[in-house]
Amino acid sequence: MAKYLVKRIFYLLLTLFIVITVTFFLMKLLPGTPLQNQQKLSPSQQHLILKQYGLTKPVWQQYLIYVGGVFQGNFGTSFQFSDQPVSYLISSRIGPSLLLGVQAMIIGVIPGILVGALGAIKKNTWVDTTTTIVSILGISIPSFVLAVLLQYFVGLKLQWFPIADWGGFSYTVLPTIALAASPFADTARFTRTEMVDVLNSDYIELARAKGLSKWGVIYHHALRNSLIPVVTIMGPLAVNIMTGSMVIENIFSIPGIGEQFVKSILTNDYPTIMAVTIVYSVMLMVVLLITDIVYGIIDPRIRISGKSN
């Protein structure tokens, strides 16, 4: 297990390096410069400022300097926020993003599993039809549309929760729901399909032949086996939430890194773009690693060997 982890972490770092390299050169292809008021500056002034940030060197040199900095834990300073170190910028903004992401994952996945399982158990009844319709809606309505609808109806008309901004828990409710809709729908749909398969399998027949009650069969045998494939979609769901958060954070003006990312791309804030990309990549790869480990825990057939057999 330890050997496996070390290997995985090595691959993770390698992947990260590739991501940094590709993003760096792609970013340099973006049109424009980080200068906000280019028209008012003379070419020599522009050159001076760019030189100050090391942007007049050839791109490959800039790349080597950047990578060298990253290896020393130096992610540079932001262009747009009066020379704040990027690491500070991100650490002060990652909290709201993580909170939203984790909340959305929890209220998406757990009810998704329950609703999906219910649909499978009550297959071809009105319960199944209703849950299917709800999950199809969840998949087809884009999160930003849902966000605006929630702001209008729940925020403005009903006044149950704040429309935007960031304060306490109540500020997280609407963005979390908007973010969670698609993971919820995906999980529900996937769980239903898997569970229908599992409920038709021979070992469920045997479990029934043992005299287990209907719910006993589901709890002891069907649920775990249905969840194995569901775990595999956790990675893609996490991606879904991360990309969704960029839009959602903007709509709800939440001071998270998603909002930061969009801003920094619009202003060619190179160090911030790079840093946020690295943060997203690391989060995604960690989620995938956790998924693989959890997968091994709940499915003995692919448990990382070394101890048994």
């Binding site: 021979d202 032949a209 043992k210 005299g211 287990l212 209907k214 002891h220 775990r224 194995i228 003995p300």
Partner: protein, 362 residues
């Protein structure tokens, strides 16, 4: 054998399935009984209703199944009238089942010890430690080597034959009165088949359970069963003791089945088969369902269903050929050979009987 107590009695069972294509008459008036400690083999080709019959005994019919009529008497209770709760109490405790494919009939994510112990914990409220200890005993009984070390293994760590032993252990852990074995060796290779069949025979002696043995393989039946019921198109067409069915069959379908089974006496050459396919049970034919494939069919076969004609106290067959007015027909050569063997056996038995009587008198 007659003196033994009857524990299961199926009476005029009729089961339909509602499908999109229409109503499938899967079981069309099936009756049989099972005595304590005996093995009854139900033989027939795919779709003849063998499995549906056993599922109805377990109360495990699919949702679209409708019991049209009949009773399934287990001791003095009708299984068909039981509540879900009562059925759950029956399954795995009094009536247990072994399934066809051991590769898929175990839960892949549960340790096998736990799977074997589960019926004990459900039905007898045995605590986990004690149940696991009994599971270990049962694993030894069904011949799982190195049971102590393997009790915490998962199904994928076992071979097909071993998995079927585990399935048998699960079925027998509560010492059921009836064990339903639904083609338990079909998915196994021949040498493993023999091992599993031997094991079942041994265990039947040890825990004195009755077995309903479902199969399409007559070769397996000979060594296993006391009595045989032959099913065709949702009906039993002939039943009797294993010797009666093998050596003195009366129904043309049984003739066909036996002729298409290779034996040591089979001459080289083409293996016989029954021409045609079973009838569509969405719309069963009038008269004898086998008539269309039956080279010995009489005119009446297409008009009226044959009743059971008695051959002996234990042997009945539903074919018009047994009617006193029916023309004499000559069965296939193989069957004549079998009948000759049977006659010789009976003669021998009679002589043996005589000798014994004489010895007794002296």
């Amino acid at each position: 054998m007659q003196s033994k107590e009857t524990i299961l009695k199926v009476n005029h069972l009729k089961i339909n399935f509602n499908t999109y294509a229409g109503t499938v008459k899967a079981i069309r008036d099936v009756s049989f009984d099972l005595k304590k400690g005996e093995t009854l083999a139900i033989v027939g080709e795919s779709g003849s209703g063998k499995t549906v019959t056993t599922r109805s005994i377990m109360g495990l019919l699919a949702n679209n199944a409708v019991v049209e009529g009949g009773t399934i008497q287990f001791h003095d209770k009708d299984v068909l009238k039981m509540s879900q709760k009562q059925l759950e109490g029956l399954r795995g405790a009094k009536i247990a089942q072994i399934f066809q494919d051991p590769m898929t009939s175990l839960d892949p994510t549960m340790r096998i010890g736990r799977q074997i112990a589960e019926p004990l914990m459900i039905h007898k409220g045995v605590k986990k430690d004690k149940a696991m200890a009994q599971a270990l005993e049962m694993m030894k009984l069904v011949g799982i080597t190195d049971a102590e070390n393997r009790i915490n293994d998962y199904p994928h760590q076992f071979s097909g034959g071993m998995r079927q032993r585990i399935v048998i252990a699960i079925a027998l852990i509560n010492y059921p009165e009836i064990l339903i074995a639904d083609e338990p060796t079909t998915a196994l290779d021949v040498t493993i088949q023999a091992q599993i069949l031997n094991l079942m025979r041994e265990l039947q002696d040890k825990i004195s359970t009755s077995i309903i043995f479902i199969t399409h393989d007559l070769g397996v039946v000979a060594g296993m069963a006391d009595r045989v019921a032959v099913m065709y198109a949702g009906k039993i067409v002939e039943y009797g003791t294993v010797d009666e069915i093998f050596y003195n069959p009366k129904h043309p379908y049984t003739w066909g089945l036996l002729s298409s089974m290779p034996t040591l006496d089979t001459d080289s050459g083409e293996l016989a088969s029954i021409p045609g396919t079973p009838p569509d049970l969405l719309d069963p034919p009038k008269g004898d369902a086998f008539a269309a494939r039956n080279p010995y069919a009489l005119k009446i076969d297409t008009e009226q269903e044959p009743p059971f004609f008695k051959v002996s106290d234990t042997h009945y067959a539903a074919t018009w050929l047994l009617h006193p007015d029916a023309p004499k027909v000559t069965p296939p050569d193989q069957i004549i050979q079998r009948q000759a063997k049977f006659a010789a056996m009976q003669k021998e038995a009679k002589q043996q009987h005589k000798i014994e009587e004489e010895e007794e008198q002296q």
